[in-house]
């Protein structure tokens, strides 16, 4: 998938620019000071987006990959930047999300207002995250990826605590400490790889590496470190408070983009460094953790009173979704293949990045409008803040797999792969996952759409530009399935053909009604449904069942609380590392 050539290709300088432009923005914004940060950011954002678009254009003309040798030093001595289809897709996604968030935040983080600290930090950190992500997407060297990963962490952590309240500070500290644990595990693996093969270049490693014990230990350690940074269940202790505590624009970036950085490195490690090394058993284990994330994340999300926490837990569940593709990507000879399953996973990543960012922005507007974000207190939101509720709805539809969203296409691809490889159980998980997503989307919409007891008095009216930007992002996510993916990802499936069939409609209805049932059964809050007469009867009929389900849910929530304690989470981290290593040894 990555270019095997060890020389700079024609448009390679674009890769350099994609890193250098945001970095220059960071430096310039810092030097110019408080008053000009936003101006610098608004200059850099269009330039950076143009570069991402240029990469998209140039890539197909170069057989689908670009390479650039920094300083003209070929690996293993020097560092190469490389891009393939997946890099280009991620570059573009990042550019889009950053653009939207910048427009959304333009009014929130105005340097002219009395508080100059938050804008200063926000805009610089935004650009820094962009630089870090671009480096991750085009970096061709495991250590460069490590530096980029740290850059990402160091930019993300202060965003969490931007408001300076005690709980956000605590969340930021937990995030930082756990992320550091993850990156140090990654670094351990890097050291072993260098000791074994004398290079850290991904392409060279893919030629040299074999499934020997040292390499397996290294791969297990690195995988675990990246899982900790991606917050895959049960290593998610830091995610909910961090993503829920940050300002809306920051949450959108953190949830939509930042966790994808470490995930992307994980893909590079598994699919590029040594496809044959990471065995089938280990992939099953990863997917099992992902399934656990879907179930636990969704159930706990349904039990949250605060909307931002609900969305944060939904991120947890969606991250689990991303890992389902690992066991589906094996070919007949037991090697990981960069085929349809990987394409589905990446599509899922893109779809989640856009939809979740839009969702957080919408929730941020609702929070700003109501002055709180309790799920039970947003009745009437549909009338008071139609734009935000619509954004939430569209993003939710995209997430749960409504055609022609990216998630729907990804799901179809993965379902095909389950059929091909005969792993029917993952097909079940995929369907249930969609239903769970529908559950919390339906829950929130039911509250937002139901009429209020008294007229809603908004605390503040969010600016129209912010709302429109978020809506555009949600729409973008919902239309992903219509885009031509072939030049970048190996997708042969035609989404358009099944757009309006009976089959699609049935699937949609099953998902929505399943989700509604789950929402009624699992959410402990009084339902808007219960206020109508018919609803009351239904609620009465299912009361015993609902009590049992809520009991189960509370059990899951308690378990989640235990898992999110520091000692439990870090012990799980080590356990995951050891289990992964053991499974890899077994497979080889």
């Amino acid at each position: 998938m990555l270019s095997p050539a060890l020389e700079t290709s024609a448009g390679g300088f674009l890769l350099v620019l994609s890193i250098v432009v945001p970095v220059a923005g960071v430096l310039l914004a810092f030097a110019l000071g408080d008053r000009y940060v936003r101006l610098v950011a608004f200059t850099v954002v269009p330039v950076g987006s143009t570069i991402a678009a240029a990469v998209l254009l140039v890539l197909p003309q170069n057989d689908g990959h670009l390479a650039y040798l920094l300083g003209a030093w070929p690996p293993p001595l020097g560092v190469a930047l490389r891009a393939d289809g997946s890099s280009a897709v991620m570059l573009a996604t990042t550019a889009i999300v950053i653009c939207v968030v910048a427009v959304f935040a333009a009014s929130d983080f105005r340097p002219a207002s009395g508080n100059r600290r938050a804008p200063f930090a926000f805009w610089i950190l935004l650009l820094a995250i962009w630089a870090a992500l671009n480096t991750i997407f085009v970096g061709g060297d495991l250590f460069t990826l490590y530096v980029a990963l740290e850059l990402l962490t160091f930019a993300a952590v202060p965003l969490v605590s931007l408001e300076g309240r005690a709980e956000t500070l605590q969340a930021a500290l937990r995030y930082l400490l756990f992320a550091l644990l993850g990156s140090i595990l990654y670094l351990m693996g890097t050291a072993l790889f260098y000791g074994l093969y004398g290079t850290l270049d991904i392409v060279l490693l893919s030629h040299r590496a074999s499934a020997e014990p040292g390499a397996l230990i290294a791969a297990a350690l690195m995988t675990t470190g990246l899982l900790a940074k991606t917050a895959l269940f049960p290593l998610h202790l830091w995610l909910p408070p961090a993503h829920a505590g940050a300002p809306a624009a920051a949450s959108a970036i953190l949830s939509g983009l930042v966790v994808k950085g470490s995930f992307f490195i994980l893909l590079r490690l598994w699919f590029n460094v040594r496809p044959g090394m990471s065995g089938f058993a280990a992939a099953q284990f990863l997917a099992a953790l992902g399934a656990g994330a879907i179930v636990v994340g969704s159930i706990v999300a349904l039990r949250q009173e605060r909307l931002k926490l609900l969305v944060a837990y939904s991120t947890l569940a969606q991250i689990g979704y991303l890992f389902l593709m690992f066991p589906l990507a094996f070919n007949a000879s037991g090697q990981l293949e960069s085929g349809q399953a990987l394409a589905g996973g990446l599509l899922q990543t893109v779809s989640h990045a856009t939809a979740k960012a839009a969702m957080f922005l919408a929730v941020g507007s609702i929070y700003a409008g109501f002055g709180h974000d309790r799920v039970t207190g947003i009745r009437g939101a549909a009338r008071a803040l139609p734009l935000s509720v619509m954004t939430f709805a569209l993003a939710g539809f995209a997430l749960m797999g409504v055609q022609p969203g990216g998630a729907a296409l990804a799901k179809e691809l993965l379902l095909q792969e389950t059929a091909r490889t005969g792993q029917w159980w993952w097909a079940g998980v995929l369907q249930v996952g969609g239903m769970f997503t529908a559950a919390y989307v339906v829950l929130v919409l039911a509250h937002a759409l139901s009429p209020p007891d008294q007229p809603v008095a908004l605390v503040a009216k969010p600016p129209r530009s912010s709302g429109l930007a978020a809506l555009a992002l949600a729409l973008c996510s919902l239309l992903l399935g219509l885009l031509p993916w072939e030049p970048y990802l190996p997708i042969t499936y035609a989404a358009e053909s099944k757009l309006f069939g009976v089959e699609a409609l049935v699937k949609l209805l099953v998902t929505v009604f399943g989700g509604a049932a789950l929402a009624i059964l699992l959410s402990p809050w009084p339902h808007p449904l219960a206020f109508s007469a018919a609803g009351k009867t239904i609620m009465h009929l299912i009361a015993p069942l609902r009590r049992t389900c809520i009991g189960l849910g509370s059990l899951v929530e308690t378990g989640d609380g235990v898992l999110r304690q520091w000692s439990t989470a870090s012990i799980s981290l080590l356990l995951v590392a050891l289990l992964l290593a053991a499974l890899m040894f077994v497979a080889n």
Partner: protein, 113 residues
């Protein structure tokens, strides 16, 4: 036993100790210290790797050395950021515990966002 094995085992032990401290020490500051210990163990690992790769005229492979120098600086930055967060947390909350579950309990303060 060569110097590589001696210091290699030393590095592995430092990693183990650091991990243990990171998990079990309740105070965040001690976790940060343990992280530094863990980090130095990993850096020593690079040193071992580089020492094995010593070539004529060079006592230690310069590439791992350069990586370690970068790593030390990053670890120092991490320490500084974590300490600043910790001090600010202490200032704001009067305690430094990490174990509070308040932000996610269902009936948390609605003013939080």
């Amino acid at each position: 036993m060569s110097s590589v094995s001696v210091f290699g085992l030393c590095a592995a032990a430092a990693v183990g100790l650091g991990l243990y401290g990171l998990i079990t020490n309740p105070q965040p500051l001690r976790k940060i210290v343990a992280f530094n210990l863990l980090g130095s163990g990993v850096f020593l690992l690079f040193g071992i790797v580089g020492r094995r790769g010593a070539a004529a005229g060079v006592g230690n492979d310069p590439v791992p050395q350069a990586l370690v120098i970068t790593g030390i600086v990053v670890a120092f930055s991490a320490t500084a950021l974590a300490i600043a967060l910790l001090l600010r947390l202490f200032h704001a909350a009067g305690s430094t515990t990490l174990s509070s579950r308040a932000p996610t309990s269902p009936r948390s303060d609605p003013s939080g966002g």
